[in-house]
């Protein structure tokens, strides 16, 4: 059996760290989306999505990154993606996410990148 999906949000200082585990597909993406929505509803704008334990992501999961990032950036924040391992990098690369999102090796690095620029490296 594949590892079960889970999503967990930790508020760490001024950051919301959303930790994904297992597979994000059309079945589980709504739970990821709900986590991002809750963080935003709670006023969080500095969002880090930790993918270290992510084993799979399909377009339904990528869509969550797409749907919220403008709103967050408009308010001076960002959604940063960290901990992507080789196994799950493929769809991000294929679709060109790497020029539009800030990818970081780990959560600490991601936190350090906030405030440096607007998020898109502009």
């Amino acid at each position: 059996m594949p590892s079960p999906f889970s999503v967990k949000t930790d508020l760490e200082g001024g950051f919301a760290v959303i930790r994904l585990e297992g597979a994000v597909d059309a079945h589980t993406a709504p739970r990821f989306e709900a986590a991002v929505q809750s963080a935003i509803d709670a006023g969080q704008r500095r969002i880090v999505v930790d993918c270290e334990r992510l084993t799979y992501i399909s377009s339904a999961g990528l869509g969550v990154f797409m749907g919220f990032v403008e709103e967050v950036r408009d308010e001076g924040g960002d959604i940063k993606i960290c901990g992507l391992n080789e196994k799950v990098k493929q769809p991000f690369e294929i679709l060109g996410f790497e020029s539009l999102y800030d990818f970081c090796p780990d959560v600490e690095a991601a936190k350090g990148r906030f405030g440096e620029a607007s998020g898109r490296g502009e």
Binding site: P2, D25, Y56, S58, S59, L62, M66, F68
Partner: protein, 145 residues
Amino acid sequence: MERVERRFMLQVPSSTENLALIREFVGSTAQQAGLDAREAAGLEMAVDEACANVIEHAYGHDVSKEVVVRVTLDGETLSIDIEDTGRGFDPGAIDQEELEQLINKRKTGGLGMRLMTKLMDEVRYEIEPGKKNALHMTKRLRKQT
């Protein structure tokens, strides 16, 4: 014909709950076909996207419908066939906006068919609305010499 063609079929209720099983099924055939880990992951994703479309768009999450995935291996190709009897659509009319545009419009979808096309060597739809909509995808196998 040096070797027997190997045929695999999986049929499951039309629910996203079964996408994980569909990926395992396809992954297992990929392994038998000798694909490497990256190629197998890509194949699993292409089929996941195609089946998610059937579940969501063709059958509107009606669990009484069934999703059928066929995999055929010959020495040279891994072929995928997925049919639905849903309302059909015009694949050529689906516009393929740039990711940046989709993000600006705060879209959360529209990437599935693009992934399928990039991951597979061939993606072909045959749409006969009201009768059947067939998706045929192939992946070339490297010669095992």
